[in-house]
């Protein structure tokens, strides 16, 4: 049983906003993130999978295949996009780092042949990240 982690980057715009609140309430809770013109980040995604090593290849998972899945399921959908306006899951939930980790888990879970998704980590900045292990996904 071993864990393998692969990273990928994407650059997106977003903002934090709750339609049920007034502009003043949004600004009080979300501060400068509530600017509806949006701002953006270079996100880093870390995907960790768990599995047994194939004794012939020495791999838990085919690295090229894992990269392709991350590209197809997440990066191609999020990269160079405005998360609030163009990514379906953020029509109804605020694209916080926490919610992004859960959304990415749902996009990847069950898609990686021969290995179990163990953790999704999303960095919004070098000094802020969220980890999701699938509980309650």
């Amino acid at each position: 049983m071993i864990l393998l982690t692969r990273k990928a980057d994407f650059s997106s715009a977003h903002f934090y906003w709750n339609d049920a609140w007034t502009e003043a309430e949004n600004e009080r809770v979300f501060g400068k993130c509530s600017n509806r013109q949006g701002h953006g980040h270079n996100y880093t995604l870390e995907v960790t999978v768990q599995g047994a090593i194939d004794p012939v290849s020495g791999f838990v998972v085919d690295l090229k295949e894992l990269k392709d899945i991350m590209e197809r399921e997440v990066v191609s959908v999020y990269d160079h996009r405005h998360l609030n306006h163009e990514v379906p899951e953020f029509k109804t939930v605020v694209p916080t780092t926490e919610n992004m980790a859960i959304a990415i888990w749902r996009r990847l879970d069950g898609k990686i042949p021969g290995a179990k998704l163990h953790r999704v980590r999303v960095y919004e900045m070098a000094d802020l990240f969220a980890d999701f292990y699938g509980e309650g996904a």
Copy 2:
């Protein structure tokens, strides 16, 4: 004569677009950066100043003052903003990394007491940056 460099970060949204071109031309030249919903980055700004060391303080420039100038002149204007829609200089020029370095030079030049602005470096991503030394600013 010594050079001192200080960094600051800001997170902004932007896109690349030329109104004189058709959508197809914009996409051909700017690729996925032409998406007008915008995307975004964690930018890193490096400001280098040149001067003589004050023999009493040991400083080329007061570090706290330099930080405050960078904050007031650049970070407070660009951070958590959509560059195309909210920052005046990008109404007329595309907010490429190159144009951002020039715009930031113009915002800072002549504002740093006792030292000469030497270089403005802007990182859009860890693997892409522009340097401007003021020639033709």
Copy 3:
């Protein structure tokens, strides 16, 4: 259930010394860290909290509030200080990375509204860090 991690930096002086030992014993165990003039580091603190996501805000914890708590409880006390001489908890224990992680846990535990402190990580250098999960704190 999700984990959110925020980083902060502080710069402090310290040295390793045990009054019950001779100078030679201190030097044998602590090497160059036993120099009582002190040396110093740029420390990086990672605080991880665990909680449920507020369905309205999308937050586990208010990021601004978490940053303020880390600043008030730890950074303002440790930053630009000599740990051995100016920080109470290191009057009686050696300020090793391990002991710092425990001391910071005690400073933060129970202070973060709506979330549970999960882990305190302290980097003394890029290649050395300690993790404390609260067991026996």
Copy 4:
């Protein structure tokens, strides 16, 4: 109970190859890693140990001793070597990041006085790493 992590670097050559397969099969599974001339990496090794803090020294483990053990048991054997041709454990298994983490665990386990080996992490590149916790070693 606390965890302490120390890093070390080594630079090695390797390639991926299975003698039971044809050249075409090797290339299909291993891609450009199957080039038998070899390529190489700057590896980063993270060793995490778990233990109680010695109340006198403030250490879980003597840092100098831990560094020496990592140097003697791993770095001196792997660094500036061709893993496939010069390191015994990779005569029979492919030197993937996963297999390297297990091999390093076996080299270190039981060698660290007063502490328990908790995790071995090996980075092959900044965006790819394997974690092994000893299960089934």
Copy 5:
């Protein structure tokens, strides 16, 4: 006049050896780098170009095109290769970081439409790099 820098990574094997010397002389000068089985590195290449900004596109150089040129002229030739055995320029000169910077300059110079090659920087490790500005290339 502005400078734009783009990075790329490649992973290669190499060793240092001079056929005119005895094994002992090679080991004395090159140390552990003289091991003819080879070792390897994750290299980082930084290519800096200089030019005027196109007032319409806002670019010094088309970023996609620059990336493609670096990929075609350098990365596809060096990556996952043994530099001594598989790259023509290192049949006759030792693949030191210095010689690699010059070799890459020669591969890129004159190939970048609309901009002048300004500097080639090659990192062999995070703590060692060479810069070449074309003088005497």
Copy 6:
């Protein structure tokens, strides 16, 4: 003509203080850096040398020798030391990053066989560094 840069790290304590000023003046100019108990940093030193490549070895300078010179002339004197109290050059000048770059230049200039010292860069933190090119040293 090529440039080669090598890095080294050291960890030191320091504070900023001018005996000719009152405590209030020191605090006004130097802020929290004026705390005479001292604080500290993980410094990074980058030494750049310029020279011709030896056609036989492929080196501008023997890397092992450069590392040894940096260790002997700088790191062994500054590392795990209190700069104000234990390093002679900082008895009379404030150990700012700028003054440290000049002091290190003077320690290294003329000591590197076969190459010319080109630049000394000192990082006090990741976001603050000084460069000295020897003018007026």
